[in-house]
């Protein structure tokens, strides 16, 4: 048995609050600070709201529901989100370095607010062909 929770929901902003609540539910028993939780929620929202990613997903036939897999590893919370069109995450990262947001694109945003960002294929059977992104937030020991 692993300490993980999976959630699937439509690619529709009406359901994103549900995803954020579930993240909060996982973070609370970890004694994650409000600061850190808010960061992780913002990171997830930014991916879900990202227009380029959404457009690529639509062009790829929608890619079905969004899956969010939250896993507690010692002193960190991992959030794997998928799937996205293959290559679309890298494109979003590259573009954000030079785009009109003046460097404050997806890459800088994520690297500032979470401790680790990993892009790869889905790790479990049934994860589909698309890409997944895994965000890791460390839980700092309370002072």
């Amino acid at each position: 048995m692993s300490d993980s929770v999976s959630l699937s929901f439509p690619r529709d902003s009406r359901y994103y609050a549900v995803a954020r609540l579930v993240v909060g539910g996982m973070a609370a028993p970890l004694e994650m600070s409000y600061d850190a939780l808010d960061d992780l929620q913002l990171a997830i929202s930014s991916l879900l709201d990202h227009e380029d990613l959404a457009t690529s997903a639509r062009e790829d036939g929608g890619l079905g529901d969004v899956h969010l897999r939250l896993r507690i590893e010692d002193h960190r919370l991992e959030a794997a989100i998928g799937s996205f069109s293959t290559g679309s995450l890298d494109r979003a990262f590259e573009r954000s370095a030079t785009d009109a947001a003046g460097g404050l694109g997806l890459q800088r945003l994520l690297s500032t607010i979470v401790d680790d960002v990993r892009v790869g294929a889905g790790e479990e059977a049934g994860d589909g062909d698309g890409e997944w992104i895994t965000l890791t937030k460390q839980v700092k020991a309370l002072a």
């Binding site: 609050a17 609540l21 004694e31 600070s33 409000y34 227009e51 460097g103 945003l109 309370l142």
Partner: protein, 282 residues
């Protein structure tokens, strides 16, 4: 006997006994208005004393321009003017129904705060993109203060469990209440500074912190790109501190002099603005 309110002014300085006499006369039941009286007075009397619903309707129509002008003052907040006029009318009707004809005040004086009150209540209740139960809204406001207090007290950002303990709510309630803070529609958050609105929570722009000389750092719009140009100085400064200087929300909150929850909202709003701005250039 048939004294009008303006007579009171004339009595100032008169013999106290005479003054008292006049005041007593004024307290007598309101006379039936004559054709010489103001139309609204006649209508109010017809409605309140004779129960004429037609008079009530006419009163509503008579004061519709007032509702309209008050609603217009609030319509820039992204609400449809017609919606606000409807809401304002509810305030007007309440004012007409509750108006005490014997008090000698003008209906306009009494109706105006009622209409504005109703419009404000509408913003408070409907200004949320998702309808949020009042209890959670209140908890959200309380949490905003608690986060600040606990951050100072603990010298770090509090956990959900600590917030639950301090607020007397469950962890689930705390999480839900924090989430409701994000249910604020982007319209109410991004509208301009509100004139004369004391609902500070609706409009973060009104609770500005102190001016920081460091705002100037982010002035170089050419370097920061056109997305940043859509932001005001404070928003740019906060994004700069968060994403280019790596300060935490609580550090930014104490530096800029606003609550941490407010910083969180401003960051979300600013990112949304950048997104919208870039969107319009493509």
């Amino acid at each position: 006997m048939n004294r009008r309110p303006e007579d009171i002014i004339v009595t100032a300085g008169l013999d106290p006994a005479i003054q008292q006499d006049i005041e007593e006369n004024l307290n007598e039941p309101v006379r039936r208005p004559t054709a010489d009286d103001k139309v609204d007075h006649q209508l109010l009397y017809a409605y309140h004393h004779d129960g004429s619903m037609k008079a009530r309707e006419q009163l509503i129509e008579l004061y519709l321009p007032l509702v309209r002008s008050l609603a217009r003052r609030y319509s820039y907040r992204g609400e449809q003017l017609e919606d606000l006029v409807q809401v304002g009318c509810i305030g007007l009707i309440k004012a007409i129904d509750r108006f005490d004809i014997e008090r000698g005040v003008e209906l306009t004086t009494y109706a105006t705060p009622n209409i504005i009150g109703e419009i404000k209540r509408h913003f408070r209740d409907k200004g949320w993109a998702v309808r949020v139960p009042r209890g959670l809204q209140e908890l959200n406001v309380r949490l905003s203060k608690l986060i600040e207090e606990l951050t100072v007290q603990l010298e770090r950002s509090p956990t959900i469990a600590e917030l639950a303990k301090a607020s007397g709510a469950t962890e689930e309630e705390v999480l839900e209440a924090l989430e409701t803070g994000q249910a604020y529609s982007s319209v109410s958050l991004s509208s301009g500074p509100g004139g004369g609105d004391d609902d500070g929570d609706l409009d973060p722009l009104e609770s500005l912190g102190s001016i920081d000389e460091q705002y100037a750092i982010t002035e170089d719009r050419a370097v920061l790109g056109p997305g940043f140009a859509a932001l005001d100085d404070r928003e740019r400064f906060i994004l700069h501190l968060r994403f280019f200087e790596g300060l935490t929300q609580s550090q930014i909150a104490s530096r800029v002099g606003i609550s941490q929850m407010h910083v969180s909202r401003l960051i979300r709003r600013s990112l949304q603005k950048i997104k919208d701005e870039i969107g319009t250039h493509e």
